[in-house]
Symmetry: C2
Subunit: 170 residues, 2 copies
């Protein structure tokens, strides 16, 4: 679950698929990677976000606060351009197709939508303009384990990039 803040200052949260940890050198940590659509509402939201991960089986929760950056079609730096292309190649065809569909969140057009046929997506090794990679560069991790007794620990990133952990009350 990825939480953001809208321009109006309202809380927003939705499910995103975790696409792995990116080792692009944003700061000293690996970044949480997800993908999204350039036309999605969250593109206009603030860049201090939080990811919440709850593992039902182990009853562990990770809250990862971080700075969000997007790699869009306008990325210039080679490492970002490459990350966007290589991530696109890992996306399933069904999911790739959504990036050629009408803009998410817009009222459904009454004219019947012709979905691009399989194999008609153009060059599948190169992402369309709508494809965006999101990276959350963490600065705080709040871990909670709902066993008995409960355990909660908060790690915070210091200015020099090293992490400091502290046990806190659950």
């Amino acid at each position: 679950q990825l939480a953001t803040v809208s321009k109006e200052g309202h809380a927003k949260v939705r499910t995103v698929v975790f696409r792995g940890w990116s080792d692009l050198d944003l700061s000293s940590s690996e970044a949480f990677k997800f993908i999204t659509d350039l036309r999605s509402e969250k593109m206009s939201h603030g860049n201090i976000v939080e990811v919440c991960w709850y593992l039902t089986e182990t009853r562990e929760q990770f809250r990862i606060a971080g700075n969000l950056m997007y790699i869009t079609k306008d990325a210039k730096e080679e490492k970002f351009v490459n990350e966007r292309i290589s991530t696109w190649k890992t996306v399933s065809e069904a999911s790739q197709r959504s990036y050629f569909s009408p803009a998410p969140g817009q009222i459904v057009d009454q004219t019947p939508l012709v979905e691009p046929a399989a194999g008609a997506l153009g060059n599948q090794s190169f992402p369309p303009d709508s494809f965006v990679v999101g990276l959350v560069d963490p600065f705080k991790i709040d871990y909670l384990h709902l066993r008995s007794p409960q355990v909660r620990k908060i790690w915070t990133k210091k200015e020099q990039g090293e992490w400091e952990g502290q046990n806190v009350n659950p």
Copy 2:
């Protein structure tokens, strides 16, 4: 998952347990009920929140945006006082115990913590000061069904209290 906005304007999100729909007459809709601790950080956050519910098995997501109100120990109106008491009675003893524990999020005290023994929680039919009921009164519901083709529908509450639904692109 409940998302809020901190005083600094940052996104925050954590797992909460759904405690049912409250039919207290907040507005024309039933409200999403959860419980929390008066000493938890989110008590200072903004009151426009979003709850995200993802049902893994059916691949359905509900995003419920709403106004959050808390029923604290200071509630005066009888219906709120009663709601707080009746909700407390539904809370498991293990969970009740946490409301008598040290403040959540604070650094763990080095002195060993003596947990209150079972049955030593005082009057278990009356909530301690730290017990708070949260109610999210919805004004917008964003529903997404990840079947093929995907379905997305947004309901918005109008001023007169009636709901209006619209199909939108996923």
